[in-house]
Subunit: 305 residues, 2 copies
């Protein structure tokens, strides 16, 4: 069974074109490299180098296997680097729960920075239904959450506002409401409202104050979008989801007579006290808090000032 050191000797020798040079670089005797590669060749039952000339030259098989050996070495290095990172207190995995409907576009730069700063931390993003958010954090399924701000959070939760999410009332191109230059409460109540969440029950928090008595629930905003496009009703949906449809004319933004029709929700970062954030989680939280308002404006979640 070849050892990692065998592979290392092979790769170094192939790259340097010399067993002696490889030995020098490994801080070992030349004979060690010679036997290491000989053993590798025995294990493989394949000649890796052509020794007929002064310096060893890769055979065809050796050249083909070199790529594999490099991969193994890379994997081993990554294993150790990741382990070192974790031994220094950096978690190996970070899960962020982003409530459905909150656009990740304002976060893309931040995520890019994360991937380079914490190359050894695997990042997971889940987009649960709003009703699940608390449980997902409580259970430790995610370390950090981004959700539409609420009046109060359960005990044990920390939260800080980090940004905004703009919701826009829309209807399909051919919907009766789409023809009105201004809609009143009374108009809304005459048509079905489509709500992007699972139906609230007694347990799952407040039902919210919906504007229409006729309500359909769908599990996520994309489903609702499809229903709206098909003319099944109107809905208040995140700007990031409906922007395209409004631009192409498939969707029409409703103009509320009774209030500003763009509805601005705050976005909170939420985490639990007992589950202390790791180094990467802390970094992520700090960067979220430092996010300039511009990125929310540029992504259409804040009106231009």
């Amino acid at each position: 069974m070849p050892s990692i050191e065998n592979y290392r000797a092979f790769v170094l020798a192939a790259e340097l074109g010399s067993f002696s040079a490889a030995a020098r670089q490994m801080g070992k005797a030349q004979s060690a490299v010679s036997t290491a590669i000989a053993n590798l060749e025995i294990d493989c039952d394949v000649l890796l180098f052509d020794r007929s000339s002064r310096n060893p030259v890769l055979t065809k098989a050796g050249a083909a296997l070199l790529a594999n050996a490099k991969g193994i070495l890379l994997g081993s290095q990554e294993f150790l680097a990741r382990a070192k990172s974790m031994s220094e207190g950096v978690e190996g995995h970070l899960c962020i729960a982003i409530e459905q409907g909150i656009s990740i576009r304002p976060l893309l730069d931040l995520l890019g920075d994360f991937s380079t700063t914490f190359a050894h931390v695997s990042l997971e993003i889940v987009t649960p239904d709003p009703a699940d958010m608390a449980g997902i954090l409580k259970r430790g399924r995610a370390e950090l959450g981004l959700m539409i701000e609420q009046e109060g959070y359960p005990v044990g939760f920390q939260f800080r506002g980090v940004g905004y999410s703009r919701t826009v009332p829309v209807a399909g191109r051919d919907h009766p409401l789409a023809r009105l230059s201004q809609v009143r409460h009374a108009d809304l109540r005459q048509h079905r409202e489509l709500v992007p969440q699972i139906r609230p029950t007694a347990q799952t928090g407040s039902p919210g104050n919906r504007k229409s008595p006729s309500i359909w629930y769908a599990e996520n905003p994309m489903l609702v979008l499809d229903l709206v496009l098909q003319g099944f009703g109107w809905a208040e949906l995140p700007h990031s989801i409906v922007a395209d449809g409004i631009k192409t004319g498939d969707l029409v933004q409703l103009n509320y007579g009774f209030q500003q029709s763009d509805i601005l929700h705050g976005v909170d970062a939420v985490w639990t006290e007992q589950r202390a954030l790791g180094v990467a989680g802390q970094w992520m939280l700090n960067r979220l808090l430092e996010l300039p308002q511009d990125v929310w404006r540029e992504t259409g979640n804040l009106p231009a000032s």
Copy 2:
């Protein structure tokens, strides 16, 4: 420095949830696995298992690193498997040169079979200019070639017909020739012919007998296609390249008055005698020879019978 066996002990113990079971599976003593994992933990400076209960349980860090360790093991197994395959005479790499203009669509199924049959052979497909084909095979850059049949091949070359490539004369939508219901030689000679190859010189074989005295050469068929679409002239191009354009109306197929306007070229598989084909190359050649005519018909390279 952890050895492969250390990683193997780690992965097996994690998967079986028991050091003893891992030892049994590895055919070693339990103490070997115990110390192997302990050493790995020392190398990593990270606790991989929680030993507080009867059976060891992965720590968070262990769970994160498990994926990496599995990757290393996979890599090692693949290295050995590939080496074994090569020790049995299968080449590690196969390069096929397919002359520009020959569609690979008839070969897709064949390539799929190849990838499963010769999982350890990396496949390379190059699409050289027709004039380069011979040199590329001679130099060993490619083991096998697919090219439009010629009257004669240089000595040392083997060839067998394997299929067909249909060439269609086309012009752009607004080209004068496009309006003619039938074109004659005289018509063709009044317009520029675009030829998808580098300009033939005295060395690079016959100039062929082009139909028009005014000729532009472009390095590959796609360049020619763009030129034709821009109205710079007419060209005889492979059916696979112009089919879409003809369907959308951007291209018009010319209707030769003097001969069948679809021009059918045979496709030859070509290889050299001195560079013996390996097992994978032989397989590929045999499968090419056995290709049913249907696949050439279905891909528009043979007229429906």
